[in-house]
């Protein structure tokens, strides 16, 4: 028997004004799976993630139709969107260090979730910073501004922050753009460990990264889900769709 999917997306369509950004996308993600999402610029990858945590609600011109279920619950109808967002960790492509100290950045979500115990907060902050491979570099200056860190460090700070509320789904949107290869590998190792506890959606354009991490890979093109298959199959010489082959083999940009 196939276990119930963790995330179920059915006929998801998004328009910004009159312009479509996603066209009837449907797929499911299993619990503890790592799903890579690839696709050229403007293909709707970020839009897809923003539908999932419903921050797209705040985009005035965006219109969304379709169904997204997490644990069989229709999240587009949920009455507690804050609770939903606390179940999802989101890492944006460019680091957004909130204008707070390193410590406060990571303690932000736990505090909002009502954790006030100092020891517990400190423990959590340390754990998340370690997971994001940042602890050793910042442990002596936890109370300086997060925005003073280097680009790559800030990106790892946002990863630590996304882990800080123990999400059951972790979304990473091209997280390694600003990070050097060695640190990227360290974080990838962490992701492999984390998958035991969470489902991971990984937007990436690094073929090797998708290959190293993802069980399955989805190829988005122009707002359309061209195909979703085992990662090896997508990157092989014989994916089901011609466009996938063209993209993964660099036939078009």
């Amino acid at each position: 028997m196939i276990p119930a999917p963790h995330i179920e997306i059915e006929g998801l369509t998004v328009h910004y004004g009159a312009k479509p950004a996603l066209r009837g996308v449907s797929f499911t993600v299993q619990r503890n799976e790592i799903l890579a999402i690839i696709g050229p610029a403007q293909s709707g990858k970020t839009t897809l993630l923003r539908c999932l945590n419903r921050t797209l609600d705040h985009e005035r011109h965006a219109r969304v139709t379709g169904v997204i279920k997490v644990d069989n619950e229709d999240i587009r109808r949920t009455n507690n969107v804050y609770d939903l967002r606390r179940r999802i960790g989101m890492v944006a492509p460019l680091p957004v260090g909130l204008p707070l100290t390193i410590y406060d950045n990571v303690a932000f979500a736990p505090r909002m979730a009502g954790i006030t115990d100092r020891a517990e907060l400190e423990q959590r902050v340390e754990r998340c910073l370690r997971q994001a491979a940042l602890w050793d570099e910042v442990k002596d200056r936890l109370h300086t501004l997060g925005t003073k860190l280097s680009g790559g460090q800030q990106q790892r700070l946002t990863i630590a922050r996304a882990l800080s509320h123990d999400p059951e789904i972790l979304c990473l949107d091209e997280f390694s753009i600003a990070i050097d290869p060695v640190t990227t590998m360290r974080i990838e190792d962490v992701l492999k460990e984390l998958r035991a506890r969470m489902t991971i959606l990984l937007v990436t354009n690094l073929v090797q990264q998708a290959r190293r991490l993802a069980d399955r890979t989805a190829f988005l093109f122009n707002g359309e889900l061209v195909e979703l298959d085992a990662t090896e199959k997508i990157f092989s010489e014989t994916p089901r769709d011609r466009r996938t082959y063209d993209y993964t083999h660099g036939v078009f940009g």
Binding site: T55, Y82, R86, L98, F108, M112, L145, R161, S164, H165
Partner: protein, 297 residues
């Protein structure tokens, strides 16, 4: 070199010279004002000026024939009380309104509100004074059963109304300058609207918001006409909001015309000018230090 190259160099040089001239003349004007004020004030300041009386006496009898007194304590108290009351009202209202305009209202309402705020900012101060005199005065008399409605309360409210538009528009600019990615990040972490404002937007915009508040203070300290009309113009250390007071600025405005030029009275009014100048300098310096301290952290 080509002909075109020559022309570009000349045009460049011309533009630069004009800009430099503007800059230098601005500085010269400021120094000119300093010089003028300090020359008049200095003439009494360095001639056995009674500093003790000036700062600590409430007796302001500038044109008494027998015993002339130049004590500004009551005037200082007047300026201080009206300004503090105005800020207590205007800063929360102004920042609150800035948050509303920037974060809560739709684009249409936002445009309308911004126009209204600009209109409010453009109302001349005499008109505000007139409103204090004809609207607030009877209202305060009726509500508080006071003998007269021209007092600290009236002046404070009028000054608050005058400062709010400045605070709102600068505060709104400060909030608008907070990148949307901060909002997105805060929301993605599960922040409610209030948590987002309180924990992300206010810290991110705090320098701008502080500047908004301090410009409001500066406006209130320097305002003359409206407080002259609304505060009752009585030299008095206020013990309640319903006491009439007189401010430093109102004193200069009211007496400079009748004081004989170069008389001691005339010159002491300039010393008051210097005092006002010092107060605003201190406010600005404090602002600067706070902002810098905030940055360093």
């Amino acid at each position: 070199m080509t002909k075109r190259g020559h022309r570009e160099i000349i045009v460049e040089w011309l533009i630069e010279s004009v800009i430099r001239l503007c800059g230098i003349s601005a500085i010269l004007f400021v120094f000119g004002i300093f010089f003028f004020v300090f020359r008049e004030g200095g003439a009494v300041l360095f001639k056995d000026f009674k500093f003790g009386e000036f700062f600590f006496s409430t007796a302001w009898y500038p044109s008494s024939p027998s015993h002339v007194r130049y004590g500004t304590l009551a005037l200082l108290a007047g300026t201080f009380s009206v300004t503090v009351l105005a800020m207590v009202i205007a800063i929360p209202f102004g920042i609150g309104a800035a948050i509303f305009v920037s974060e809560f209202c739709g684009p249409k309402l936002k445009e309308t509100l911004k126009i209204v705020i600009e209109l409010l900012a453009a109302i001349p101060s005499v008109v505000w004074g007139f409103i204090g005199l004809t609207v607030l005065n009877p209202l305060i008399i009726r509500l508080f059963d006071a003998p007269i409605g021209l007092n600290v309360l009236n002046g404070g409210i009028i000054l608050a109304l005058m400062s709010v538009p400045i605070i709102v528009s600068i505060g709104e600019d400060a909030l608008k300058a907070v990148p949307d990615s901060y909002r997105e990040a805060g929301l993605a972490l599960g922040a409610t609207r209030w948590q987002l404002i309180y924990r992300v937007l206010l810290p991110a915009a705090k320098n701008g918001l502080l500047a908004a508040g301090l410009l409001g203070v500066a406006r209130a300290v320097g305002e003359t006409m409206a407080v002259l009309m609304a505060t009752g113009h009585a030299i008095n250390i206020p013990t309640s909001l319903l006491d009439p007071v007189r401010t430093l600025t109102a004193t200069i405005a009211a007496e400079l015309g009748e004081a004989p030029v170069h008389s001691d009275h005339y010159r002491v009014l300039f010393v008051i000018g210097i005092l006002l100048f010092l107060i605003t300098t201190v406010v600005n310096l404090t602002a600067d230090l706070i902002v810098r301290g905030v940055r360093k952290k």
